[in-house]
Each structure stands twice: as structure tokens, then as C-alpha cells.
Symmetry: C2
């Protein structure tokens, strides 16, 4: 797109100015066309100022989750080499699924400013208020068995929690298996879906929903946003870029067989280990002390009988 | 379709005759139209004879895998309540996948006279010569975890092997995990695919390909057909209906938690237990005595070290 090319011109001249004439020459379009595209960009929220004798200067960008902004000089090996961004979509996981079925490469991202039918785990709804959070899906094609997929859920939650701690110094924790919490309230959920043979993964879709600049009143009970906890708005672009970088790093670790390393870090972010919990799955509820997470991503519960149970799926409630 | 309605008329009058006038009244169409549809059916291979003063009589049906023939008075609870039949299709698993994504009920079947891109396990090709074998896929929506899906592969292979033994008295065996063999040659393969969250199955597609009346020269090396082993052609319709009934029976057992019962029968059909085998998976090969199949569907190998290994995926080669 020409708008993207104009943004590239600005970015190549980050410190300085670029004249309409220069842009017209570089893009092979008339000066009137340059002016028209500058106007388009301004309408989209880009701050572009014209200085007499100097030219145009890009002084601010909108906090929109576009390929141009998210992918700008992003140094990753696999994640986000290609980004499909949408203003509104029914569910980023569904669109990612369709792309993956059609052969899309691993690492590609589907991101949307809002979802009309965002999904959470176990068929639950995920609230996706417009332009406040980040809702994206990642396509992966790891050479693993279906039973190893839970490890992907774990490092995805870890990537989000770690980005928040590193860049914002907020105490983000993980509740098994995949909720990221601040002050015991949910700010992020991960929905991992797979398409697989019994002995071969065709693809995995990681769906990540994060409440970034969302107001508490727009969220379900028990949920919060980074803004609410931080006390100020933050750049969604920077937050998402940070998560992409961590996802890239942990996916590399995962593929090289270092699940042990991932679990170790994951456990450092856990808020449930050592506490008494109840785990609900369908109609079953079991209670015990959460003592470990094993290399399959299973939660190990010490039962009152003294025996340990391996839990593969369910919702954890912490009992005090 | 009107052709199907005419077939139903015949089937309601199985022993006798039905006049063109009667059919015309029952279906609310002209006698000329009845005649035209009778001609259509004859062209499709139905043997319909007209007896003066008595009417038409259906004396033979073509061995075509249509919903009308396969579903005729089939008594099952879940399997094949709906059958989508095609003359040619790229892959029954792919069509079943699309139907399942669009919400198709469990038990529905996609069946084709031939596949242009039939797939086997691990991305291999499955040869599907026209109107000689049976190539079909079953959509299931069990309330299980991804790790339990291998059980579905096991009872699918068991359903095929058992149908062959029961109805044809041929010694069909199963090679772990899902090949059905007669005289050490493959007559059937099962490709189980799933679409799942880490803790919830959205749907499972069982793809079954069986060489029924196929000539050995039309099959890859190491493969045979039921016809070649039996020494005569057989009704594909009856074979497939028999498999539907067994799939229905074992799926019921599986859903009620009786995987132990299934594994027990599966092991009775096994040709690998007690033999020395090599299992290849990607670049890894391991060797040992196949001593058991556990309730997760894993193959238990006794290694030369004396220790047991649980094998979750791979291809078995029997060593003599």
C-alpha cells in the first residue's frame, strides 16, 4: 500500500525531514498524490507536520496494531514475520485457522482491534473492547505430538507475564495453566487450539487476549487491565512487540527440547504453587495442595490421602 | 431426490411389484415422469424389470456407496445417521473437516467412490482406485482430552478387522496402531485427525480406507484387498454397513469409559504382541519385544536392557 510506503519514507529519515518533492521522486507519484496520502495518514491518527523549506516530519504515530507499526524493525526468527491486521474480526483464532488450513507459514500473526465473537477456553466468551486491548493469534507448526501441546500454552502465558514484569515492573503472575493475573485479577487469557493427527501436529493456533488500556467497567468481574493496575495508559504497540519477542525466544527454547527450562521459569511466575486449590473439570472437583508442574505441563496435586494426582485439564480456584 | 423416493417405493414393496400408476400417485408426478426416473436408475445400474399387468420390480442394486443403500434400515445410535456420498472427492477427511467446522453433528459420514488426494498417516498418500474400495470419514465429538484420541484409532481398526472376521471368516489382524492386515499385507489404514483445545476436543475425524474389490496390481507393494484374499468379489455396501455397525458399538463402549474392554479385544486381533519389532519415528528407531498396549493406546516395548518403553507414535516393522 502507498500509505505504508510513505510511512517507510518517514522511518528511513527518522531524525529529520522529508520534502514532498523527495517523496514524489522516491515513490514515483505526483506531489498532489503525496499530499493526498499524507492527509489519509493524518486521518488515521499519524501526526505529520509540514515545515516550510524543510518538508514533512512524522512526530507521532497512532497506537494502532498494524503490520507497519508492529513489524517495524522487529528482530525475531519465527514470530510475526508476517502480520495480518484487522479493525474488526469475529475471532482471530478462526481467521488464523483458515489461513493455516490454506498453508500459511508458522509464525504468522492475525491481530484485530476488536473481536465480535472472541473465544476463551472451553467455549467461553472473551470480551474484546475496541482498540483497548490486544487480541491476536499465532500460527505454529512444531514437530511434536499432541500430548506436548500444553507446553505451548505454558510458554505463551510466560511470554506475556514476563513482558509485563520486564517492561512495566508490575507483579504479573500465572495461574495454571494459562491465565495471567495482576493483583489476583485476570489481565490475559490464552486459548491454544490444534489441528493434528494422533502422531503429528498439522498446526497449533495460540490465541492471546490481553486487557491493556481497557477500563475495568468494560470488563467482566474478576478481570482488570494493565492500565488500571499501572495507573496510566501505555503503548499497545510496544506491549505487543515485547510479547512477540518473548514468544520468539521461548518457542526457540521449546523447539530445541528445553521444556525443563521453560517449566522452571513458568514456576517462578506461578501464584498457585504451595497453595491449597480446587480444580474443576466438567462435573468433577478435586482439592489438594498444588505442589508442582511437570514436563507435560500437568499440575501435580498432593491430595489429603498423601497421594499425588496429575491434573491435565481444569480450572483452578485458590482456597485460602 | 426423486430417484431416491422411487427406490424407497420399491423398498417398501420388497417382495412384490409396484405399478407405474401407484408410484405416480404416491409421488405426485406423472407416469411419464415415473418412467423417466426409472430409466435414470437403470442407467445408474439398478436392475428394474417391468412385468405386464404386475408393474415394476427391483431385482438388483448396483454396488454403489450411496446414502440410500448404505443407510437403508441401518440400526445404529450415532454412526451414519447422515451420509454424504460423492463419486469423486479430493479427500474425505478434508470434506469431513469442512463439514465439522460448519457444525455438522457427530456420526455423520463422508464417503467417496474415489479420492484424488487421499491421505494416509504422516502426510503419506493413500491410493484410492475408483469404485473398488471404500474411502470414508466419520465425524465424532467425544467429550475427552487430546491424549485420549489414540483410543479412537484403536477401536476404528478393531471395527474393520472384526467385521472382516465375522462376516467373511478371513484372518484379519491389526498391526499397531491402526493397520489392518490379511496374510501380513495391508488392506486398511486409519487416519485419525483432531481439532482440539488443549483440554477439549472440538471434533475428531476418523478416515478409513479399505481395499475391497481392488486388484493387487492397482495397489502399492505390501498391500492387498479383501477380494484378492477371499478369491471373489464381495458387496462393498455390506462390508461398509458392517463396519458402521461395529464403529457404532465400539464408540458406545469408548464413551462409557470402557477403554479396557476395547484394548482387550484389540490385543486379541494383534499380530505384533510377543514379537520382536522395530519402531521408527522421524529419524529415531528403537527395537524390542512388543509386550502390551496400555489404556492410552501406547505400545509397550521390552528393551534389551530389561526396561520397558512406552511408544506413543511410529511405524512398526516386525523382525523375525
Amino acid at each position: 500500500m502507498l500509505d505504508d510506503k510513505i510511512l517507510s519514507c518517514f522511518k528511513k529519515n527518522e531524525e529529520g525531514y522529508i520534502s514532498g518533492e523527495e517523496m514524489s521522486r522516491e515513490l514515483g507519484i505526483s506531489r498532489a498524490a503525496v499530499w493526498k496520502h499524507i492527509e489519509n495518514l493524518r486521518e488515521e491518527g499519524y501526526g505529520i507536520v509540514a515545515f516550510p523549506h524543510l518538508g514533512y516530519k512524522l512526530i507521532s504515530i497512532p497506537d494502532r496494531l498494524t503490520e507497519a507499526e508492529l513489524g517495524w524493525r522487529l528482530k525475531t526468527d519465527t514470530i510475526a514475520k508476517k502480520i495480518y491486521s484487522y479493525k474488526e474480526i469475529s475471532s482471530t483464532n478462526d481467521t488464523a485457522h483458515d489461513l493455516a488450513m490454506a498453508g500459511e507459514k508458522e509464525g504468522s500473526i492475525v491481530i484485530a482491534e476488536s473481536q465480535t465473537a472472541g473465544r476463551g477456553r472451553m467455549g467461553r466468551k472473551w470480551t474484546s473492547p475496541k482498540s483497548k486491548g490486544a487480541y491476536f493469534s499465532v500460527i505454529l507448526r512444531p514437530n511434536i505430538l499432541p500430548k506436548e501441546v500444553p507446553g505451548i500454552t505454558l510458554f505463551s502465558a510466560l511470554s506475556v507475564a514476563k513482558t509485563i514484569r520486564e517492561t512495566l515492573s508490575l507483579d504479573a503472575f500465572i495461574k495454571w495453566p494459562n491465565d495471567v493475573l495482576i493483583d489476583s485479577q485476570k489481565i490475559c487469557g490464552v486459548l491454544t487450539e490444534m489441528n493434528a493427527e494422533t502422531d503429528k501436529i498439522n498446526f497449533v493456533i495460540i490465541g492471546i487476549g490481553i486487557n491493556i488500556n481497557t477500563k475495568k467497567e468494560d470488563l467482566p468481574k474478576g478481570a482488570t487491565s494493565i492500565m488500571e493496575e499501572l495507573g496510566r495508559e501505555l503503548s499497545r504497540i510496544e506491549a505487543v512487540r515485547g510479547i512477540f519477542k518473548n514468544l520468539d525466544k521461548y518457542y526457540k527454547l521449546f523447539k530445541s527440547g528445553n521444556i525443563g527450562e521453560i517449566i522452571k521459569e513458568y514456576k517462578e511466575f506461578s501464584n498457585f504453587l504451595g497453595t491449597r486449590v480446587q480444580v474443576a473439570y466438567h462435573d468433577t472437583k478435586i482439592e489438594g495442595y498444588a505442589i508442582d508442574v511437570d514436563s507435560d505441563g500437568a499440575l501435580i496435586l498432593r491430595m489429603d490421602s498423601g497421594l499425588n494426582e496429575r491434573i491435565l485439564a481444569g480450572d483452578v480456584i485458590m482456597l485460602r
